[in-house]
Symmetry: C2
């Protein structure tokens, strides 16, 4: 058996396990390819401080042989980003586990160094065709056109073509991948992904040219401001694991323990480092490489207990309460009520994160259907694996009945409701490399539920006010029903004439005027407020009615 | 930005993404560690033709500092397998993506070359301790004790200790991993995993020593026969991907196209290879390395269309209909009815697979709760991620109402029902490296549904017979209700005395005897059959009553 033991290259592994990367089936493969390319373009533009202008073009290059079969498509994604220097292009596009985003703690869409190479790998596997890249890093500089294959056995790029080309762009990158795929609409389709991406990225100008003569779509830029740049941070002392601490100490060169703590951690001042060392009974001046065994364990424990500030909030960039509602309004413009919440930054396993949620309620949202959930992680819409996602789980676990909504046991609330949850973090823990669903970390789930509860409370206040107004209206209308009788009787007693006019006679009676039951006030209970404020109450009885008041008792 | 681009080692990747490997939380980490070690032991024993004898021991080596905190455990798994030759030990236990199972097509529990090294990685990360292995390959040979760390930056083993030791075993392997964990019972606990493993592996003798003075559990061997050994196969021409075919041709050395087809594929005879080449208009004698572009595409298409036998059924080893029911009976000994189905082998992406299903119904299974699902892949129980699993999905998608069961829309059947589904394949596509759920491949889902439908039909036949018997019983009892009246009237007409005896007088009447409504027969309709046969019907009227028959009409 020993002779058969051998190394497995990561490309071989993911070729066989391509469903782990989101290439389970031809429809999903198309979405994943577009998504990886667009996410990369957005990251590149934002890092370079460029307002992104992205074009996605899908062309059917070979029709299917029979109706239910997949066909061959070419996906081209072009951006106005900073471009990529030539020597980096092969590895970025044709080597799995290579990139700039894995080894840093900074919020970005990509984080694994797998995505775009995996799309190329899938294209190569299904069509045999290389990936084509055109990139230019600035005006006056040459544009390069490079074609790449992945040598899966070695997980290394093979450059098939390498030439200089003309490109009428100042800077940017264009990637073209041929693949066997299926183009589909609906909730898991490319168009849905692009629409949701536009919602979460108001600073993006996007053009989509769908295949088979579909209508070209333009999503013009809504905001000319780039989101605040996420700051790169160091690991936070709370949540660092023993093995990680050990590695940091061993890799420290000539530093002392204290120096490592101060230099390589976030929020550790010299005083805090001193304190942690004292708690652990470790000399702060000990060479870090020599920290082993029990002393290391003590320091690890001390670091989890020492008081430090939360990681800087600047490391994560939420969409924000206002823009979240704007996004929702783009999609559900006719809802009755919107609410949103951005929670304060928290930490899991040393990684800062922010959860935000938003709701749209009522209006033309369907009355008797389960609520619609839109899930976002670092501004990227998640369309697959809702059942495996902590975001969906947080919606299920929220007790929506507390907020005046009906909810079958363990199910989604059944209401005219759309829910958005966004997780922004320097490191989003996905359930698979396909980045389709967020893993169930308790710290994340708790924050998600808290954000939903906050939105729920805002909604409940609103719904209770609505119900109160409806009850008031009912009481009023019951009372009003008997007014004619009372009025007629009173008129009789007072020997007043009972005339039938367009405005019923009894409306002239002081009691009516006094109750505020005139034409305008009658409609008031229907004017339910759509903001977060108190319900609008019918105006008090007009003063002019006061002196005419009828004293029934005398 | 270019300067920050760098390679990511697969160990670094999985350290950061350890939830992908089943180490999301301390409770799951413990289960995953036990599971990876036991799966490896079972595979090793079976491949060597040894009846497995496995001991799992979990010891708490450092109690938790406070109640809700995890503590430190040592997991030790010892087998009587063939042992591992010394030079292989470091890579097998301390290098991710290394092993003998990835590059072959053969049904086994392990398939990635990740699991046990990942458990060691998690142990190292949380306790800083190396993994300890003792292994011996035969009587009279030395036993080696080796301690290992993983150098995560290079994904390479570091041998910390390497010594010869005494071991009173003839051969076998023992692995010890220290880790921060939580020991838990219930559906996702270690004990449940071991119990289900015993169900699916009747040839396994298992001892479990739980931590904290828990009771030692013995699962004695039930069958002394090893499961038939799964045959290793080559890829099947149906389902091979273009890129894969391209690679096979390019790696063929000096072979011709025809030779590659015959040698490297399953079920391709020289005649079939000739036919495929003719269909593709490719010369069979062309050097395989020279097959490119359109010719390659044509051959790929021809291979998907040429008639070939299904892959050999010997490549997959189902549990079998009889043993499946035996397994279910072990767990639900008091159910009323059992059914099982083993489907014929099918192929997805060139991989043969077999789906089998079994049901237990009635008895002491809970009446008003959703059915319980037990999921198995290559005899390994799957305990996490039920919602993401194709097996659960197949249960949801099956229309149980067709089989006389109630089923809420889109939900599980609500009935006293337990469902087992087992997928056996040379390659199980899991939704993540943690191997917790089966990915949604249509071919798999279809077979799963077919297997459930077959079981469902067996159940429905049974339930309909039961209902029929109940209806008969009702009819009979209605009739019986009026017999006294009729009898009294008849007695009157015939001037017979109406006596009140313990056995009511009318029971002596021939009509009663004739209908078989005596004391014994009355209970008959309740004796519902528990096998698969026809309902037991009350015995026909005894012949002795015949001659006494009263002729009512005359």
């Amino acid at each position: 058996m020993a002779s058969r033991q051998r190394e497995i290259s990561v490309s071989e592994f993911f070729t066989k396990n391509r469903h782990l990367l989101g290439f389970d089936n031809p429809a999903k493969a198309l979405l994943t390819t577009v998504k990886e390319a667009v996410d990369n373009s957005l990251d590149a533009c934002e890092e370079a401080g460029i307002l992104p202008d992205i074009k996605v073009e899908i062309t059917e290059i070979q029709p299917a042989t029979s109706p239910n079969q997949p066909s061959k498509f070419r996906v081209a994604v072009e951006d106005n980003g900073p471009g990529i220097v030539k020597p980096q292009i092969p590895k970025i596009f044709a080597k799995l586990l290579y990139g700039s985003k894995f080894h840093r703690l900074k919020q970005s869409r990509g984080q694994q160094g797998i995505g775009i190479s995996a799309a190329g790998l899938y294209g190569q596997l299904t069509t045999g065709k290389p990936v084509a890249i055109v990139s230019k890093t600035g005006k006056g500089r040459p544009a390069f056109k490079i074609e790449l294959r992945i040598d899966t056995k070695r997980n290394q790029p093979d450059v098939v073509k390498d030439e200089t080309t003309e490109w009428d762009k100042d800077h940017g990158t264009r990637v073209e991948i041929d693949l066997v795929a299926v183009y589909r609409g609906g909730r898991t389709g490319v168009q849905e992904y692009l629409e949701q991406t536009a919602v979460a990225n108001p600073h993006l100008a996007l053009t989509f040219v769908p295949p088979k003569g579909g209508e070209r779509l333009e999503f013009p830029r809504v905001s000319n401001e780039l989101p605040r740049e996420a700051q790169e941070i160091k690991p936070h002392p709370h949540g660092v694991e023993l093995g990680m601490l050990q590695m940091m100490m061993q890799d420290s060169g000539a530093k002392t323990v204290k120096q490592v703590l101060v230099d390589d951690f976030s929020r550790v001042s010299p005083a805090v480092a001193q304190q942690a060392c004292e708690m652990a009974k470790v000399s702060p001046r000990l060479p870090a490489e020599k920290l082993h065994g029990e002393a290391l364990e003590h320091l690890h424990k001390a670091l989890s207990q020492v008081k430090v500030m939360a990681p800087p909030a600047t490391a994560v960039v939420p969409i924000g309460e206002t823009l979240l509602i704007e996004g929702l309004k783009r999609r559900f413009p006719r809802a009755d009520f919107y609410a949103s919440t951005t929670r304060p930054p928290k930490v899991y396993r040393g990684n800062p994160f922010v959860v935000e949620a938003a709701l749209a309620y009522g209006g033309d949202l369907p009355l008797d259907e389960p609520a619609e959930i839109m899930r976002f992680a670092n501004r990227v819409p998640l369309q697959y694996q809702p059942k495996a996602c902590a975001i969906s789980e947080s919606v299920y676990q929220t007790k929506w009945r507390n907020y005046e909504l009906s909810q079958p046991k363990g199910g989604l609330p059944v209401a005219p409701l759309a829910i958005v949850v966004h997780l922004a973090s320097v490191w989003v823990p996905f359930t698979s490399e396909a980045k389709e669903a967020v893993a169930h970390y308790d710290e994340l789930l708790d924050e998600m539920k808290l954000s939903l509860q906050e939105c729920g409370r805002k909604l409940a206040t609103q719904l209770r006010a609505q119900k109160h107004a409806q009850r008031e209206h009912l009481r009023r209308s019951l009372f009003e029903k008997y007014i004619p009788e009372v009025a007629r009787a009173l008129a009789n007693i007072l020997s007043m004439p009972v005339e039938k006019t367009e405005k019923p006679f009894y409306k002239a009676l002081p009691i009516f005027v006094n109750l505020g039951l005139d034409e305008d006030a009658k409609d008031a209970p229907k004017e339910v407020p759509t903001g977060g404020g108190a319900p609008s109450v019918p105006p008090p009885a007009s003063a002019k009615g006061k002196d005419k008041q009828l004293k029934l008792v005398e």
